[in-house]
């Protein structure tokens, strides 16, 4: 019924009202209803996402706070300065104070940055603020209109009762009237006056002392997009009125100030500006902070696998540089994780919660845990008698709880150890372990540390480091460990954090206490010398023996420092190898890690053209019918969808295609299978209606998809639009 309603030859839009009274929708209604406790999972997903979002927005505020404070401070000061100057040199033109806010290339996130700045200024400095966007300012008139509208609107609520300047205001508010700066000036002073009158006398005194006139702040978002001519005129115009109108500019600049001053603004405009530069945090450093403080911590139970992490990062670094998009993808990952993975029910921040959750599960819900890939592997590796135990519900519960505990334990130290290793190796030449901690995370996730090339390389380099360097590095790697040492319970394990910390401290101290050139320990090498070289049968035996001897000598020659260094390095090596084991080696790691990079690739960075062309050139990928298998290898099966046949044939042509020939070829393919059966049938060049109709359909579909278009170059030809000649 809807189908009929929604197609017409005279209309393209159809409104279909909902038939229910209360049409509120809730995501929870549409959460997957199979698996373990879907509603609870949905709540957990929400909670976790909200937590992540909150901590990220806190970080945001923290980062921007300094910048905003600086800016506000500058605007306030500029105001005062200007007045001082004015008093000194009356009648002379003054410069307009300008804050050049260098934002870096990232258009999408800056809209929010500027709107935050707008509210901040409005609260702290003055209510006369306007944001100008290039699209509204194609000429002087529209620029003034946009500026005027915003200023008038801003102050409207202040003047609800004040009727003094109504006439002017009404006149200015008319869309058709061209605004001039002198009109604005008049209005500005009137509005200040009314405000002044309205305030109580005690406040008045205060106001006079503090800000004589609230400044008018004009924010130009993305200066490069403005037309230079309009900008120049605007600046010149403002400069004429600068002595009375307290205008302050804030320019959002994506490139650099020198670029703007050389390319965009002529000298005549720049002389009227007194510029101070401010730098917004760059998108990539911002992201690095987010990753460092929020994602690579044990604070949030949800984690991304190395591969997914890498993919999202690549999207960020190679596609858009947009934090907002990054967060959206992250949100998708969280939602997807809790939607698809029913074991995610145990994905809680603390161990106790996880175990409680497990205890409350029913038997058939527990079965879901057995389906997890890593769990299957783990169960298969168990011994036969243990495997029997698992059939028992409570024992299986205990096993799951134990495994989760292991994982929690592991996570408690994982990120600190990661940070420590990063600090330890970050200053090495050529960065064998990567410059950023995120690279280290990805590679640790991918490979076992012992097999990691960079790790081996790093330790080879460290083996020859000097004493000062080594001490410095050890100290730096100790810091992240000490931070988490407090939280962990004490244990006697050699590789445990607290023991490790004291061990490293001890090593540092002993390294400090010895001098670099301590004497070589005197050793009783006399006996060695006496040892005769036995007669050997083969040359290689001699060689071996000599080598062993040389080795012995080397070890003995080691200074005290070298020994200590060796000790420290072997210890640290063991320590890192223990704490940075491959996450995938843990059973049930899927509970916490979202590990489906294919899902992200499919839904976030999809390749629509690839899917269409694959479907056309190799239909077997989608339609698994045995006869279509040959399509990829140059044969066109006669039962392939018509559009595939037409597409395959069109691939063989140059940039224009004769429709008649195409039709003939189409017929040849389509009828190839029938021929044997119908070979009694008269074979002729005449095309039957059905084939022609199918061909027409296929061709118009190809046209719709954008592969061909009709051309007038030659009668009955179409032009090919992809991969053709010229």
């Amino acid at each position: 019924m809807e189908d009929i309603a929604a197609s017409s030859i005279s209309k393209g839009c159809f409104f279909i009202p909902g038939n229910a009274k209360s049409s509120t929708i809730q995501a929870s209604d549409h959460f997957d209803d199979c698996g373990v406790k879907p509603q609870l999972r949905w709540k957990m997903a929400q909670k976790i996402w909200n937590e992540i979002e909150d901590s990220i927005s806190n970080l945001h505020i923290e980062i921007q706070e300094k910048l905003f404070n600086d800016l506000v401070q500058y605007i306030k000061l500029a105001q005062e300065k200007q007045y001082e100057k004015n008093d000194l040199s009356r009648g002379k033109r003054t410069e307009i104070p300008t804050a050049a806010l260098i934002t870096g290339v990232n258009m999408t996130d800056h809209v929010t940055l500027f709107s935050q700045l707008y509210t901040k200024i409005k609260e702290d400095v003055s209510s006369y603020v306007a944001i100008l966007e290039a699209k509204n300012c194609s000429n002087m008139k529209s620029l003034m209109r946009a500026l005027g509208d915003q200023l008038l609107n801003v102050c409207e609520d202040n003047e609800k009762d004040g009727t003094t300047n109504n006439d002017l205001l009404v006149y200015m508010k008319k869309k058709s009237t061209p605004l001039t700066i002198s009109m604005l000036e008049k209005w500005y002073f009137k509005s200040i006056a009314t405000k002044f009158l309205q305030t109580s006398p005690s406040k008045k005194r205060k106001l006079i002392n503090e800000i004589p006139n609230p400044p008018i702040i004009v924010i130009c978002q993305q200066l490069e997009a403005f037309s230079p001519k309009v900008l120049q005129e605007f600046i010149l115009m403002c400069s004429f009125h600068a002595q009375r109108l307290p205008i302050v500019f804030v320019f959002g600049i994506a490139t650099s100030w020198s670029d703007v001053s050389q390319r965009l603004l002529p000298h005549s405009a720049i002389v009227h500006l007194s510029v101070e530069r401010f730098h917004a945090p760059s998108a990539s450093s911002h992201l690095a902070l987010i990753i460092d403080r929020i994602l690579l911590t044990s604070q949030h139970p949800f984690k991304l696998s190395g591969k997914c992490f890498q993919l999202i990062l690549d999207v960020f670094l190679c596609h858009d540089f947009s934090i907002a998009n990054f967060l959206h993808t992250l949100k998708f990952c969280v939602m997807e994780h809790f939607y698809e993975q029913s074991a995610s029910i145990a994905c809680c921040a603390s161990l106790q919660e996880s175990i409680d959750m497990i205890c409350n599960l029913k038997k058939n819900e527990l079965k879901e845990f057995k389906k997890i890939e890593s769990m299957k592997r783990h169960l298969a590796s168990l011994k036969a008698d243990k495997q029997k135990c698992i059939k028992d519900g409570t024992k299986f519960k205990a096993l799951v709880a134990k495994l989760l505990e292991d994982l929690h334990q592991f996570h408690n130290f994982y990120f600190s150890a990661l940070r420590s290793l990063h600090a330890f190796t970050a200053t090495l030449p050529h960065y064998p372990m990567g410059k950023q901690i995120r690279e280290l995370y990805c590679s640790c996730f991918r490979t076992e540390l012992t097999k990691h090339d960079g790790f081996q390389q790093a330790f080879t380099i460290l083996k020859v480091s000097s004493r000062d360097q080594l001490i410095e590095r050890l100290e730096s790697c100790l810091k992240p460990l000490q931070l988490s040492e407090l939280s962990s319970d004490s244990s006697q394990d050699e590789l445990h954090f607290s023991t490790a910390c004291s061990r490293i401290k001890y090593l540092i101290n002993s390294l400090k206490s010895i001098g670099e050139n301590d004497e070589v320990e005197m050793n009783e090498n006399t006996e060695d010398r006496e040892e005769q070289l036995e007669t050997v049968k083969y040359a290689y035996q001699l060689q071996e023996r000599l080598r062993a001897k040389a080795e012995k000598k080397r070890v003995k020659k080691m200074t005290k420092y070298e020994k200590l260094r060796e000790e420290a390095l072997t210890f640290l090596r063991k320590f890192y190898e223990y704490h940075l084991r491959k996450v995938k080696s843990f059973p049930l790691y899927e509970v916490f890690y979202f590990d489906s990079s294919a899902t992200i690739r499919r839904h976030i960075v999809a390749a629509p053209r690839l899917s269409i062309q694959t479907a056309l050139s190799d239909p077997y990928q989608y339609l698994q019918v045995a006869s279509l298998e040959t399509a990829a290898s140059g044969v066109i099966p006669s039962n392939a969808p018509d559009i595939c046949v037409a597409y395959k044939l069109h691939n063989e042509s140059g940039n224009i295609i004769n429709l008649y020939d195409w039709l003939m070829a189409f017929q040849t393919v389509v009828t190839s299978q029938r021929e044997d059966k119908e070979n009694e049938h008269e074979e002729s060049d005449d095309v039957d209606d059905i084939t022609q109709a199918r061909f027409i359909k296929a061709v118009s579909e190809l046209q719709f998809l954008g592969f061909i278009k009709p051309t007038k170059k030659k009668t009955d030809h179409v032009q090919r639009l992809t991969w053709s000649h010229t």
Binding site: E2, D3, A6, I9, G12, C13, F15, I16, S23, I25, A27, D29, H30, D320, N325, M335, R602, A606, P608, I612, Q613, T614, A615, S617, D618, Y622, L623, Q624, A626, A632, G634, V635, I636, N639, K648, L649, E652, S653, G654, I656, Y660, D661, W662, L663, A665, V669, S672, E675, N679, V687, D689, I690, Q692, K697, S700, E701, Q703, P710, T715, D716
Partner: protein
């Protein structure tokens, strides 16, 4: 399946297993055991590859040479194993040349050649099967049939090729070579019934298909001039050669219906259709998830080959019955952003709409924005958000601002291969798309009906089959409101237009104004030039005639409508 023993075998042992199958088959213990082993074989492979997560298909190809029948059976087994997901992943890593065919040197009639070769291969395969079956049956009869068929093919081929005006002799000679070896293949095949020979002939035809490296080099590197001349090196045949050069839309739909009926009996096409249905079924299972993400402020974008209209409609009636929704047909040529916004304003907010789309957007932003009190939400269902009328950046920017609002949800589809180009980063980040590949091979019936095709009768490009119907009804309406004299004037013009068309070769001359005036006077339709002009303005206003200045300064009139429409008009409406 349940009875099949599952054996875990290491990779190295697979070879011995196959050998075992071969040996068994040789011994004559053919069908059953081979079948079982093939199953076991498939199982082991599945197991082995679940760890390395490579598609099991590749492994199969390695064994192609060794055993054919085993291969076929295990393939069938594997079909159930290979999921769409794995295939997709494989796709991504697939090298581009397999999907996108890059520019290859094209010769005259390459397409025909390709089609024939491919058809031949298909036929050969069939024959291969047949020969297996009919091996024991009368051989003489068989050979007879084959030779008869061969002669027919050759005749047809020569007929086809004879029409082609080959410009380069070189290409002609290669064609000759091709056809002669072609004959050889057929002769060989006809005389031999052994499959071995079939294989060699297949291989030889493969070799013929590829141009040599040298040819490729010269094709890629010869001068600008030549490549320019090659542009137009298609044959000169036109559709006029066909029995029915331009099909009417009704004929088309009739023929397609007939085709549908016919294909219901053909097994191979049925198999494909059931596979298509299966695809759609899998997509339908995602509905819940789509709804979930829509509620979470993501918007859904469907892509992939095939019309997504039915899929979206099913989604709407399944999940969105209770919601307010606006269905937008992006492929509709006369659509505008203003009409979309006006619809929303009229139907939901019920405010008198303002003129400017930007102002309307502002109203909507307030209504559906964060601060809005109403919890009412709107679902925008946009078929073909990449449609011609929605492509411009202003429209997309307004749509993206709508998409951003927390109470507006969009589910849209794209089809054009370059559709992704309509969004820049800023718009994309506002849309928050989640992409879903829903390739389903459904035919684009409604979407293409607005499109003009060279092969169809219609009222010119851009209007399509619907356009033709529209033009005719418009014509009738205009004519009805006019006096009989004015109709007479138009009739004269129309007849002139159709008359000229009969001999296609001569260049059509437009009717000059003075000639028309003369003719009209003769028929007592007008009495002065002024009245004639008054009649003509009526038609001009409705764009039913065109006037242009000729080289002599006089005015020339023509009717810009399609001839069949005019003919229909004359036949149906002028008579009574």
């Amino acid at each position: 399946m349940a009875t099949v023993p599952i054996v875990y075998v290491a990779n190295e042992d697979v070879g011995t297993l196959i050998k075992g199958i071969v040996a068994k088959k040789k011994r004559g213990n053919v069908r059953k055991s081979a079948n079982q082993l093939a199953k076991a074989f498939a199982e082991t492979k599945e197991d082995a590859y679940s760890l390395t997560s490579k598609p099991p298909k590749k492994k199969n190809e390695q064994n192609t040479g060794t055993k054919r029948s085993v291969q076929d059976e295990s393939d069938k087994e594997l079909l159930s194993v290979v999921g769409a997901v794995e295939l997709f992943d494989e796709n991504v890593s697939q090298c581009g040349t397999q999907v996108y065919s890059f520019k290859t040197p094209k010769r005259n009639a390459q397409m025909t050649k390709f089609a024939e070769e491919s058809a031949m291969k298909v036929r050969m395969k069939q024959r291969e099967k047949e020969t297996e079956e009919e091996c024991q049956s009368s051989q003489a009869d068989n050979t007879n049939r084959k030779t008869r068929l061969r002669e027919k093919r050759i005749k047809a081929k020569h007929h086809l090729r004879g029409n082609v005006h080959s410009i380069l002799t070189e290409s002609e000679s290669s064609d000759e070579k091709f056809s002669s070896s072609d004959e050889e293949i057929y002769a060989e095949q006809a005389s031999n019934n052994e499959t071995k020979c079939n294989k060699t002939s297949l291989r030889s035809s493969n070799r013929l298909q590829l141009p040599t490296e040298r040819e490729l080099y010269f094709d890629a590197h010869d001068g600008e001039k030549e490549s320019h001349s090659r542009q137009c090196k298609t044959s000169d045949r036109t559709l006029q050669k066909l029995k029915n050069p331009r099909m009417a839309p009704e004929e088309l739909s009739r023929a397609l219906l007939k085709h549908r009926d016919k294909s219901q009996k053909v097994e191979s096409i049925q198999a494909i259709e059931s596979a298509q249905k299966k695809l759609s079924e899998t997509y339908r299972q995602c509905y819940k998830k789509w709804m979930f993400y829509l509620c979470n402020n993501f918007n859904i974008l469907l892509h992939g080959l095939g019309s997504k209209k039915d899929l979206i409609h099913a989604f709407c009636s399944d999940k969105l019955a209770a919601q307010n929704k606006l269905v937008v047909n992006g492929f509709f040529p006369a659509l505008s952003i203003k009409s979309i916004l006006t619809h929303i304003c009229d139907e939901i907010i019920k405010v008198p709409h303002t003129q400017n789309p930007e102002d309307q957007l502002e109203i909507l932003q307030q209504y559906f924005g964060k601060e809005s009190s109403s919890k009412e939400s709107l679902f925008l269902v946009i078929h073909n958000i990449d449609g011609i009328s929605l492509r411009n950046s202003r429209t997309q920017s307004i749509l993206s601002h709508l998409a951003e609002l927390p109470h507006v949800h969009i589910i849209a589809s794209i089809d054009h291969i370059n559709a992704a180009l309509i969004w820049d980063q800023a718009k994309l980040s506002r849309f928050h798309w989640l992409w879903y590949d829903v390739t389903n091979y459904a035919s684009y019936d409604e979407e293409t009906s607005y499109e003009g095709s060279l092969l169809l009768t219609g009222a010119g490009p851009g209007m399509g089959s619907h356009g033709a119907a529209l033009a005719l009804s418009g014509l009738v309406h205009v004519a009805r409101s006019l006096t009989s004299n004015a109709r007479g004037v138009f009739r004269i013009l129309t007849e002139h237009e159709l008359e000229d068309n009969d001999d296609a070769d001569t260049v059509k001359e437009d009717f000059s104004f003075t000639d028309l005036y003369q003719k009209c006077r003769e028929l007592f339709l007008v009495n002065s030039e002024l009245t004639l002009r008054a009649h003509l303005t009526e038609f001009l206003d409705h764009k039913l005639i065109q006037i242009r200045k000729g080289p002599d300064g006089g005015e020339y009139l023509s009717v810009p409508l399609d001839h069949s429409t005019l003919r229909d008009y004359l036949e149906q409406h002028e008579t009574h």
